[in-house]
Symmetry: C2
Subunit: 154 residues, 2 copies
């Protein structure tokens, strides 16, 4: 009888461990992802390419409009390199939903930003889907795709 | 000693069950997703809006370029409705990678297609990221985002 009880306890413990991969600290994980998203915007505004690269996994792919899929890390670094003449950058992500499945997550939402070049302001606005992976305890972007949302004409 | 052995066996069995959610029939699941991707292309070529809608989850969102995120099912249906004058449609998906995490999956790759309107051919080419969910035993698209790849000028 004792053994049956012990085994049942073991089954319950293991089942809980099994499920906890999905549910444990879900909100904490979500906050960690949102913090990384904000860190990306800050790195963009700081023109900090190294920091941006640190928010992508080593095997990340990005999907800029009109270009082929970029999976080469140096190509991604070049894409996120900033012209020294570009200034007064603004960048903001507005996540609509974050969902976590184990060590993978995805989120989607809107983004908006501004760059200024030779005194001329460029405003952009769009929507994105990001697939995240938790690697070495840190959430990083694995797939990053976006496209525009039409700006209202002034 | 026998009990220790039995308990160890139980741990191994439960651990295997626990992990199998990720790995069991992975290739079979991948093939099911790719079959749905081909079914989407076929439905596009058949101008079969009902079939396209059946490949999206009830709570799907699509991210067409220049538009806001579309989560309303009737809006998605309208987006994928075809002008009767459009004919000779071609559509092909070229998946680069499919990854499955439990009942969620994502894939990305390229697509290409053609439409013809009033004798004028329109060729399009792009790349996509899709987040899939297995619902009622069937893989369906939950998030569908794409953008263009520049066509070579002739």
């Amino acid at each position: 009888m004792k053994n049956t009880y012990q085994r049942l306890t073991l089954v319950i413990i293991l089942s809980t461990v099994c499920l906890s991969g999905y549910t444990q600290n879900a909100n904490q994980e979500k906050q960690a992802i949102l913090a990384q998203a904000r860190a990306f915007s800050q790195a963009f505004m700081d023109k900090n390419t190294d920091k941006i690269m640190d928010i992508y996994t080593k095997d990340a792919s990005i999907f800029p409009n009109r270009r082929k899929i970029m999976s080469d890390r140096e190509a991604i670094r070049k894409y996120w390199s900033f012209n020294p003449k570009v200034k007064n950058l603004h960048h903001k992500l507005m996540p609509e939903k974050v969902e976590i499945v184990g060590n993978t997550a995805y989120d989607y939402g809107y983004y908006e930003g501004t760059t200024e070049y030779n005194g001329r302001q460029n405003n952009f606005r769009g929507k994105y889907v990001v697939v995240w992976k938790k690697t070495g305890g840190v959430w990083k972007m694995y797939l990053d795709i976006w496209n525009s949302v039409q700006m209202k004409k002034k």
